[in-house]
């Protein structure tokens, strides 16, 4: 049972970290797109 919770908690940490990284990546990609649009408009 302890092992189950230990591995469950490590998967929760993994999920939270991945969600954090995916959010950063999406934000960076959207910012990139916006900058490219502004550069074209200028």
């Amino acid at each position: 049972m302890t092992d189950f919770f230990a591995s469950l908690s490590s998967y929760i940490v993994l999920a939270v970290t991945l969600i954090g990284w995916f959010s950063v990546f999406v934000f960076m990609m959207l910012t990139d797109r916006k900058i490219s649009k502004l550069e074209k408009d200028k």
Partner: protein, 219 residues
């Protein structure tokens, strides 16, 4: 360039998965908490790299008097500050589980705190000066002087003073005590964070260029 971004996405995702799931050997007093080194150390490394870049751009501004170098310098310094804060937060979380409190004024924590004050003063200096040229000149000089203190606070002081902080990656005997698997994940994480930093810096510089162009058009 776009391919590099998608490479980073896959690479960083793989690094995170391996960092959190790949079995590590038993390390006395640390256990699984040792996994923080895959994130905390690359964050510190990125901060040092950013502060050094800020110094290089500061030198270039003083040589060429091109305002773009000043903008590049402040962009690098702000990213350096961001990664310093992230390293401090992850370190404090680790300290809570290992030492029992988020903040203990351990020499490592004190030196990073002083480093944040040094760069906090850099941003305060920039916001206090209205003249663009004076601001660029003074902050470039300050960026050079403060970058000189970075290796002292990050690399030298923790090796001189007794601390509860685990050994640096390259320990005081000049050796790396890490098995091959851990070392590979650690080096991959360093690479991923470095690529991420350069991407962030490139975005900030592109925004700075747009701002400069707008200011020139307005004047």
């Amino acid at each position: 360039m776009k391919a590099l971004r998608y490479f980073l996405f896959i690479f960083m995702t793989a690094v995170i998965c391996f960092a959190l799931l790949y079995p590590i050997p038993y390390i006395p007093a640390l256990g699984n908490r040792a996994r923080i080194l895959y994130f905390h150390v690359p964050m510190s490394w990125t901060a040092v790299l950013a502060f050094m870049m800020s110094m290089v751009y500061g030198i270039q501004y003083l040589r060429k008097k091109d305002l773009l170098y000043d903008r590049k310098s402040v962009s690098a310094a702000s990213l350096g500050f961001l990664f310093t804060v992230l390293a401090t937060i992850t370190g404090a979380m680790w300290a809570k589980f290992n030492w029992g409190a988020f903040w203990n004024w351990d020499p490592r924590q004190t030196s990073i705190f002083v480093l944040m004050l040094v760069y906090g003063a850099y941003f305060a200096l920039r916001s206090a000066i209205e003249s663009e040229e004076t601001r660029a000149k003074l902050s470039s000089v300050y960026a050079i002087l403060s970058a000189v203190t970075v290796p002292f606070f990050v690399f030298i002081m923790p090796r001189l003073v007794e601390s509860l902080h685990p050994d640096p990656i390259v320990n005081t005997q000049g050796k790396i005590n890490m098995n091959t698997g851990m070392l590979l994940i650690f080096l991959s994480s360093l690479t991923a964070y470095t690529i991420l930093f350069f991407w962030m810096l490139q975005q900030k510089v592109r925004i700075a260029k747009l701002n400069l162009r707008m200011e020139i058009n307005e004047s």
